[in-house]
């Protein structure tokens, strides 16, 4: 469980993190969403104990980052944005080094290394120099080092950045599998990534918290993009036809839907629309709409 209370961090005169509070329950995956320079990395660095906050508290499983740094460091696994690897070591040597660094007992190191190599599918590059492995393997190695000491909390800074689509899918699968053993926070500026992987999201911009959203919330809204403007009558007919829909509005080619409960199956609604002659181009998950709403509301305030 991660608790962040009124956290602030100042660099020179810039408030990189400004009074941020949120909570992540045990065994959940939460996303940090926001433009570059929003304060995502700084918040994560505070949670790992790398940077001390100027104000506020951050607690991991009830332990204050400022009070018992060593316990925090043992509990947290961290993948920084730039994967911290030593090119001149082999994959095996590197993982053994990280295991030792985390204070694993000598006789458990071999087992721990085997476990993460299997979990992150690094068998093929086990004996290679880290310098010579590809970007995708390097990212997996970064994940492997983060989980080698079986941390209760995993902090992943942009875990899929710079990867090709197939690699992104692999990494996402891995992150989802971590949920069994750890609470995970990951940062991203890709909305689809957050919707697919996370149970909740914290939207940050310029160091401030704009919104806290859960899967339930964004699951309840949906945007359907059509090829041509959607007839208002078709939109109006949706709520009476489908009891799960609480509201439907057409805005040009955009059809906004709100649900009472996150829908299990969208197919009946999509089929209904197709039968009415709507040519569907894209279905956008609700997070995007909520994200834009939060960002726009912020800009309106500014």
């Amino acid at each position: 469980m991660i608790q962040v209370e009124h956290l602030s961090k100042k660099f020179a005169n810039v408030l990189a993190v400004n009074d941020i509070s949120f909570q992540v329950e045990k065994g959940r995956i939460w996303g940090f969403l926001g433009p570059n320079g929003a304060g995502k990395t700084t918040t994560m660095r505070i949670l790992t104990g790398y940077l001390p906050p100027n104000d506020g508290r951050a607690l991991i499983n009830g332990i204050d980052v400022n009070e018992d740094l060593r316990s925090i460091q043992k509990m947290v696994g961290y993948l920084p944005e730039i994967v911290p690897v030593y090119g001149e070591l082999t994959v095996k040597e590197y993982l053994r080094f990280v295991a030792e660094l985390n204070g694993l007992e000598r006789k458990k190191i071999g087992y721990a290394v085997d476990r993460v190599v299997e979990k992150t599918s690094l068998q093929g590059v086990y004996g290679r120099l880290v310098r010579n492995i590809s970007r995708g393997f390097r990212q997996r190695l970064g994940l492997a080092q983060a989980i080698i000491h079986e941390p209760a909390v995993l902090i992943l800074d942009e875990p899929t950045i710079g990867l090709d689509p197939a690699q992104i899918i692999e990494i996402r699968e891995m992150i989802r599998s971590f949920r069994e053993s750890a609470t995970v926070i990951l940062s991203s500026h890709i909305l689809a990534e957050i919707t697919q992987v996370c149970d909740g999201a914290v939207i940050i911009k310029e160091g401030r918290l704009l919104a806290t959203l859960t899967r339930d919330e964004w699951g309840k809204s949906l945007e359907i993009v059509a090829a041509a403007p959607v007839d208002a009558a078709i939109a109006a007919g949706l709520a009476p036809a489908f009891p799960a829909v609480s509201e439907a509005r057409a805005e040009g080619p955009l059809l906004r839907l709100e649900f009472k409960e996150p829908p299990e199956d969208l197919n009946p609604i999509l089929m209904h629309l197709v039968q009415k002659g709507v040519s569907i181009r894209e279905v956008k998950a609700g997070l995007e709409a909520l994200y834009m709403k939060a960002i726009l509301a912020e800009e309106g305030r500014a």
Partner: protein, 255 residues
């Protein structure tokens, strides 16, 4: 202790897998070998002259004529080469962002610093041992005293250990290896020559500056004199270098 060795082991691997250690060793031996050869030629010539003028052969001291100038010359090479050995220790971790891995692990900064220091010290000790092969020739063809030689080697080792501590500190200040090397070289050089300024000053001033200079303390050891004062001087310098490095980590954390 185990955590110090974890870091030292990794550093040693890094040294041995990269060309730095080999190249530095090769150049060190090359230049030291040249010095040894030229001093030996000079010593031969002098000995001949002395003998021709009727000087008794058993009064010719090979330690004084060969090894003292040789070790004094070796310090100059150390001054240039050791900053190159230490410059990457922390600067490279910062540049490659691996520092984040080390500082978010449960490892204490003190263990990190000591581990890196130990690794550089081991490499240096190996280089120093290799120069001992020069002395072997002296033993084959002559009859030098062993004790002063060992004292001089202890002096060289301690002096190098101080240089490494200074280099480690310089490396912790920047992510640029060239800056780290330049800083450590300048600091070492300044402390070396600080006694020059003292020579013309008032008594107390002169005493302090003379005491501060590496030269004063190394000079004693090269001539075979072990004085606790000199050992304490070198050890306190090492401690100071390591302590300052530790402070850099503290300071950066709370800045």
């Amino acid at each position: 202790m185990r955590s110090v060795w974890i870091i030292a082991k990794k550093e040693l691997k890094t040294y041995l897998y990269s060309p730095i250690a080999y190249i530095l060793t090769a150049f060190f031996l090359l230049v030291a070998g040249f010095f040894y050869y030229s001093i030996l030629s000079w010593a031969n010539e002098q000995t001949m002259r002395l003998l021709q003028s009727g000087y008794p052969i058993d009064r010719v001291n090979i330690n004084q004529m060969l090894f003292e100038p040789f070790f004094n010359n070796m310090t100059v090479i150390l001054m240039f080469l050791l900053p190159l050995l230490t410059m990457r220790l922390f600067a490279d971790e910062k540049k490659m962002r691996t520092e984040e891995l080390l500082l978010t692990s449960p490892l204490r900064p003190t263990a990190l610093i000591l581990g890196k220091y130990l690794a550089a010290l081991i490499i240096y000790a190996i280089i120093l041992l290799l120069t001992a092969t020069f002395a072997v020739f002296a033993f084959v063809h002559g009859n030098p005293e062993v004790a002063p030689l060992l004292t001089a080697y202890l002096g060289l080792f301690l002096l190098g250990a101080v240089f490494i501590a200074i280099g480690l500190f310089a490396s912790s200040l920047t992510e640029n290896q060239v800056i780290a090397a330049a800083v450590s070289f300048s600091v070492i050089l300044l402390i070396w020559v600080v006694s020059w300024v003292g020579e013309s000053g008032p008594g107390a001033w002169r005493a302090i500056l003379t005491y501060l200079s590496f030269f004063t303390h190394f000079k004693n050891m090269v001539t075979g004199v072990i004085d606790t004062q000199d050992i304490v001087y070198f050890l306190s310098f090492i401690f100071l270098g390591l302590y300052l490095t530790r402070s850099v980590f503290e300071f950066r954390r709370w800045r």
